[in-house]
């Protein structure tokens, strides 16, 4: 009675009109994140299950996420203007976000398969790794869908915080935890810069929503765009850290070397893809009008990444560090496509991200298996004679390295060709020349590893006794999950290397767009 009286005395409170939700668009994100939470729940109840079960479950959930995209893709490519937004324009629905969702989901599936054998070999407990992988991927998907700078920031943090933990996941290995804390400190540092950039852009435009920002910039001539430009600079610093572009790459070699190899596979593919998703949606799409302001900066970042990545990779003696530097130079190549700031450039970047994910996961997959217990045997010497200990692994790694080098008949060739021709289209000739030089230097580096695997003899073995030696070298067991993952990556790299059409077509259709919800829906939100 008293309560009722009290309630009656309150001023009438109007209910808040919450925005309309298009659940279908959120389906991939929901499957990935709810799948992670469900696995967490079940893993705490069913403790006796073999850890392989969780690996299979994580793979299935990720594949389900990728499959959900198919009907959405049909919907978005159905007519010219199917792209839209939902949830008060915070979530973008276009081909670009769907394409990257698939890339991220497949990266998770492959990394989860690699992780199974790794966890068993290292004697680590399982489910948490898969849970964190999937949650982190949910953050990546949020970034791909983000139409609002705050949403983008939250997605970035979900992605990164999970990866900090994943990098430190090998709790019995000091290097792993050092990698975790180094990544954490530098990651938090770069996030702060990114966030400061968001604040500047908010001050300069009055909104954090990309659609509002673009409309505002299109309608207004800014007398003073200093605040906006400062925002560009700070945001670029933050995102360049995440995609490991020079000069913001210091963490990469250390973290790649120390972190568990399956996690590195995920970092090199999905984290990079999500970072570039943010760069393209914010810079290429939203700030298209100001591209003469940010293009030179991306130009310099690209050139530095290409050169530093390739040349420093040569002097490395640790294969994992070498691949870390090579991933920096790949970031440079992708930035070449970003710098073009054209639809063709975006398509080239998407193609690059998709095929690079497979080759880099494959490479680190082979490293996972070949690294031996402790995941430490990664010096170039340890790879001597890998072709004898495991011809299949050596062959697979050869394919991936050829592809990373951009040798024809692999996907890597078309990826590099795509970004370089986009740069030439955009009249950035010098950038294209530097990219080609970097590709040549990179080819030397990859060939060095291949030569070591196939032709370098162990110190005491004779050259002509190659066949006889095979019995003395101990063969490497390839766990089933890792075997399947590596085989899939080889197939994708070779098949689409001969016949790149399908991926290329999809990448060209996956155009990023900023489209507000229909006016009727908008009304409910406001």
């Amino acid at each position: 009675m008293i309560i009722q009286t009290l309630l009656a005395q309150q001023a009438p409170v109007e209910a808040i009109d919450t925005p309309a939700i298009d659940w279908a668009i959120l389906a991939p994100l929901l499957i990935m994140s709810v799948g992670g939470i469900l696995m967490l729940t079940f893993a705490s109840i069913l403790k006796t299950l073999s850890s392989s079960v969780w690996s299979i479950a994580a793979t299935m959930i990720s594949l389900a996420t990728a499959i959900t995209v198919i009907p959405l893709w049909m919907r978005v490519t159905d007519t010219e203007n199917s792209a839209t937004s939902t949830l008060a324009n915070a979530v973008a629905f276009d081909g670009f976000s769907l394409f990257l969702t698939v890339v991220i989901a497949l990266s998770v599936a492959l990394s989860a398969m690699l992780a199974d054998g790794y966890l068993k070999r290292e004697g680590l407990e399982g489910p948490e790794l898969y849970v964190l992988l999937m949650m982190s991927a949910a953050g990546g998907i949020i970034m791909a869908f983000a139409n609002d700078l705050i949403v983008l920031f939250i997605g970035l943090e979900i992605l990164s915080i999970a990866v900090y933990v994943l990098a430190a996941m090998h709790t019995r290995k000091l290097e792993s935890q050092e990698a975790g804390i180094k990544y954490f400190v530098l990651g938090a540092f770069s996030s702060a810069f990114f966030l400061y950039g968001i604040a500047m852009i908010y001050g300069a435009t009055g909104s954090t929503n990309l659609i509002d920002i673009k409309n505002f910039l299109a309608a207004t001539v800014l007398d003073d765009d200093a605040l906006l430009l400062a925002g560009f600079a700070l945001m670029l610093v933050g995102l360049a850290f995440k995609v490991a572009a020079v000069p913001f790459h210091f963490w990469t070699p250390d973290v790649y070397q120390g972190a568990p190899s399956p996690v590195v596979a995920y970092m090199a593919s999905a984290v990079k893809a999500a970072g570039f998703a943010a760069i393209i949606r914010v810079f290429v799409l939203t700030f298209e009008q100001y591209r003469t302001d940010w293009q030179p900066v991306v130009y310099v970042l690209a050139i530095l990444s290409l050169l530093v990545g390739s040349f420093l990779a040569i002097v490395q003696t640790d294969v994992k560090r070498m691949l870390a530097y090579s991933s920096i130079s790949h970031a440079g190549f992708i930035l070449v496509g970003v710098q073009a700031a054209t639809e063709r450039g975006v398509a080239a970047v998407l193609f690059y991200l998709a095929v690079y994910s497979f080759m880099v996961i494959g490479s680190f997959g082979v490293l996972t298996v070949a690294g031996g217990t402790g995941d430490n045997a990664h010096s170039l010497d340890d790879y001597k004679g890998l072709s004898k200990r495991s011809p299949l692994l050596a062959f697979a790694l050869m394919i991936f390295l050829f592809s990373q080098a951009g040798i024809p008949l692999t996907t890597g060739f078309f990826a590099k060709f795509g970004v370089i021709s986009a740069a030439i289209d955009a009249r950035s000739f010098w950038l294209a020349v530097v990219a080609m030089i970097s590709a040549v230097v990179g080819a030397y580096l990859y060939l060095r590893v291949i030569v070591t695997m196939f032709f370098a003899e162990d110190d005491d073995s004779e050259e002509d006794g190659a066949d006889g030696e095979a019995t003395t070298a101990e063969p490497i067991d390839i766990p089933l999950g890792a075997g399947i993952a590596i085989a899939v990556c080889v197939l994708v790299t070779v098949v689409f290397g001969v016949w790149p059409g399908p991926i290329d077509d999809l990448a060209r259709e996956a155009i990023p767009r900023l489209v507000a919800e229909s006016a009727a829906v908008l009304q409910i939100g406001n």
Partner: protein
């Protein structure tokens, strides 16, 4: 006039606290200076009419986050002093200074370059009321949070789940031995470190002998500097052994 006074006092509190955080040798002192900065910030929020945020600032930051810091410092017993006279990596402070000054200069130029640097569209998301009572402020925040930012709000659920899972994974006791670090890097490094300290001590002795022999006024300053450095090295060794 009152406004200026409040701003000046708060700015002083905030900046002194911030400098204290990075200059205090003892992490506990740093944490206390951090609280000082956070309180100053809360007052600034009130003067900017963000009343609810001011309360949240005190409750969440000072009440939860800094307590967590202090708790971990005490738990680990890492409240030993860090010697700040030795620059660990040559050129590190210079680079840090350049980064900091560059960021500050960028903002200074941006803001003072013209009369009105803040070019944003006013009230793009939702107007701040004129007469802000606390209830109004809270209501406005809630409305915006559950309409324009509802997706970000939901996404923070994933973020918090990850934080919990991550903390449990990392802080859990692990079974089994630590794996050896490759090529005994740790031992090599420790030997090198010990050698460096020995060299320092030898140099110090030599210097002392020299200054005793030639008791000219000019060498006193140099010897003093060496003494400071040497005592610093000693501190660090203690820390390492603890």
């Amino acid at each position: 006039m009152v406004e200026i006074a409040v701003f000046a006092v708060c700015a002083a509190i905030i900046l002194v606290g911030a400098v204290g955080v990075i200059a205090a040798r003892n992490p506990v002192h740093s944490a206390l200076f951090l609280i000082q900065t956070l309180f100053g910030m809360a007052v600034v929020f009130i003067s900017l009419e963000a009343h609810f945020l001011a309360a949240v600032q005190v409750v969440v930051y000072a009440g939860a986050i800094v307590i967590l810091f202090l708790f971990v410092i005490m738990l680990l017993g890492v409240d030993q002093s860090e010697n700040l006279n030795i620059e660990p990596i040559v050129g590190q402070r210079f680079i840090a200074g350049v980064v900091g000054v560059a960021t500050f200069a960028l903002m200074l130029v941006t803001l003072t370059g013209s009369e009105d640097a803040i070019t944003g569209q006013p009230q793009a998301t939702g107007a701040l009321g004129d007469e802000l009572t606390d209830a109004n402020n809270v209501r406005q925040l809630a409305e915006t949070l559950f309409t324009d930012y509802v997706f970000a709000f939901e996404a923070t659920a994933i973020l918090l789940t990850i934080a919990v899972v991550g903390a449990v994974v990392l802080a859990k006791r692990t079974q089994g031995e630590m794996l050896p670090t490759p090529r005994n890097t740790l031992e090599i490094r420790e030997e090198a470190y010990q050698a460096r300290i020995d060299a320092r001590a030898a140099q110090l002795e030599a210097n002392a002998a020299e200054s005793a022999a030639a008791d000219s006024a000019s060498s006193t300053g140099e010897a003093d500097a060496d003494l400071v450095e040497a005592s610093g090295t000693g501190d660090e060794t203690d820390g390492g052994d603890a």
